[in-house]
Homo-oligomer: 250 residues x 4
């Protein structure tokens, strides 16, 4: 399983408070979570400031699942790379979108919606409830667990109804949120997992790490196939006018 | 109920064979179907060659449901108008996408997928099967009906799993197709209805006309509200750090 | 629209504390909510101790939507009446299941699952969040509202994934719950709405009353048709052996 | 992976024409398909005329996935065994329902619907279209394949909307059918796969065998846990009346 972890990697560089929590960057924490729980996973990382954000066509082509963490610089991700990621998902690559990635270009383009939500930074408690203990994405995850301090995300989360709703969050301040969801898009699978604000040690939490790794394994590509064009096959049964001339579709 | 019918309106102008079937344009046939079955509907039309394709901000803002027929000139629809339509749907406007509109910019942007499918022009028979006779979109529609000649569209149709699968087509040449589906996107509803190739009198067929009108009524806006941004509300319950400073989201 | 409200009607008879809240019974409160918000609705009531629980074949046959409140005496509902209700839903009747009706025979038989959940009586606060402000079932309902005291229901709620998830509850004690959901079953529609413990004045709350009435209107039958048997039609296209003998299905 | 194959095993005993196709019974053909494609699978069989139909509590408790083929004697399956199977699915066991099992007691009880459909025996061609080539249940399955002769099943198939629609059938006689679907129920997964009339060699077809085996592997239990009762937990956060007395739920 070939995993690529994309991280914007700006907060950690710019703010000492974040660097203390993630000294090697959020991408390093995510990569280690996958390595810890998925034996044999080959994990690379990519960051915004690298050429093509580290997500060249070659990297994307050889990625089974891409993890995405971004926050303040979504607009700096080039449209070309965003479209490359979207097409790779439709071809079968998995995509695990984390926390503030709900506004990232690849996620928004794959969902079609705004991805908007309520938010608040108040060091409040989050408790995540497990709706499907038998789902492979929740293997090893208890019926609920708590994060002592997190940013709040509240409904209405503007996304299409998911194929699978796996966890719902309770927040101390009074809100709720659908925190773990999956959608199929083309041949690929998209997972969204809510926790992970940069100022909290969320990606060091053992249950969070397990879910991140499970999500990567669940979304990893099973096929990789470009079905972007519209074929014009001959009929399989007799039809009135098999040789009819027509205008070609794109 | 304020209805706007968009039609590319090129085939009818360029080809005598199409003009014979739709002398006033496909938009006129669609508009008359809505007027016939939805008493009190106010129906306007818009075409590609008009300024802003007839879909100015004012027109879109005052539209409850937009019907969309396009085929050979999807690329000529401006990105601005496509995005205007997408945002209007997320705000609550309904969108009924017809036949070759599966590759139109608004539909592809709302779905996130390619919208690709198999196709063939061979004057073959299509039979549509009704999966939900109790659904308002299928009011007055029999358990199945036939179109003697239509273009074939075959699976795999590359769209997200629909919220509702309402009809499946059987084709003489051996293929099947999910022909009537709905998706919620934001506050709006999208309907896709397959039949309607420009060289056949499909939009004069009484059952097709009923479905087109039902689809318009079903998708028409119930709210109209811009939720594109992320609010930062105060907590509803006590939280540890209610006045915490933070970086604003877009 | 013909509405029947079923209520077990035992708590109100047996406990003064409940009678104080619902002096004419919970069914009377529910019936008045529907009458208040659905002009022209014809509303009847039915209770457990009546012959056939007030739900004779004649009553069920002439009901567009049935509301169901039961709690401590689910087992006393006869299997015949439960099956009658199930079949009526499959034929197109709407069913709105309230609060502790999650364990009622008709609901469990239509869902196929246990309907189990966590619960607690501790006079705690419930806050319900509106996920689809544009849905007809949530017309007139704010983005969230509170019930000062309610029984807690917590996830995992053992039901099939709903067709529509419309509200999620936050509870003071730390749990969350999918509080408003809909499922299609056969030609009918089932709605589950969580609030309504007998010791609290929940069904006097204006927003709750609006949702109860909206649910009744949304679920009301559009068709009524018995499709319980398997027809054996002649082929619509040529087949190799049209007159083949066979064993009849039930 | 522990697999149990249930077969009614009456047609093969009673009719020479069926025995010629399945000399050791349909269960033997299904068991060999699983063994062929799932290395290490432990496969047992069970038949109607055995005590408890071969599905004792011990057998069911030690089954990860149960395959079910039945046709003319659904009514002879005891309610106790049907309920045992239903509860095992809710506890996490997989269930793969084949062909005429659409009217079997366990399937109908888990779905809540009639399971009715159209049918015809006319030796006609069936072509199955693959809607999700990337799904594990369709690993190794081409984009479409044909069965030269099969019984026809046509829509409307009265089942709840599936979680996943994986294949649609085209029939020579003019009908269509959703032929491969999955539903989650409780902790378990149910798969329905259409083909397999007793008079045709369908379960000897290599692609059908692959799908049967894939379905078994996909549905096999990941957890096994009885969540049939409603726990009454203490609050996780402060509540007004934590020690309140109440009536116990069942």
């Amino acid at each position: 399983m070939k995993v690529t972890v994309y991280n914007e990697y700006l907060h950690e560089v710019e703010a000492e408070s974040v660097r203390r929590v993630y000294p090697e960057g959020i991408h390093a924490a995510l990569a280690s979570a996958v390595r810890e729980h998925v034996p044999g996973a080959q994990v690379r990382t990519a960051t915004l400031r690298e050429p093509e954000h580290g997500l060249t066509q070659e990297v994307v082509d050889s990625t089974d699942v891409l993890l995405w963490w971004g926050h303040k610089a979504h607009a700096e991700v080039s449209d070309d790379v965003a479209e490359r990621v979207r097409r790779a998902v439709l071809d079968g690559m998995g995509l695990v979108v984390l926390h503030s990635g709900h506004l990232s270009k690849p996620f928004v383009r794959l969902m079609g919606t705004h991805g908007s939500l309520k938010w608040r930074e108040a060091d409040e408690k989050e408790r995540l409830w497990n709706l499907q203990p038998g789902h492979p994405l929740l293997a090893g995850v208890p019926d609920h667990f708590e994060l002592e301090q997190e940013e709040m995300y509240g409904e209405r989360f503007d996304v299409p109804d998911p194929d699978e709703l796996l966890m719902i969050s309770w927040f101390q301040g009074g809100e709720v949120f659908r925190s773990l969801m999956t959608w199929r898009r083309g041949h690929g699978r998209v997972v969204y997992f809510r926790p992970g604000h940069e100022t909290y040690p969320t990606y060091h939490h053992p249950v969070v790490r397990r879910i991140v790794a499970n999500a990567a394994a669940y979304a990893a590509a099973r096929v990789r196939r470009d079905d972007s064009t519209c074929p014009n096959p001959a009929a399989l049964e007799p039809v009135p006018n098999p040789g009819k001339e027509h205008v070609l579709k794109p």
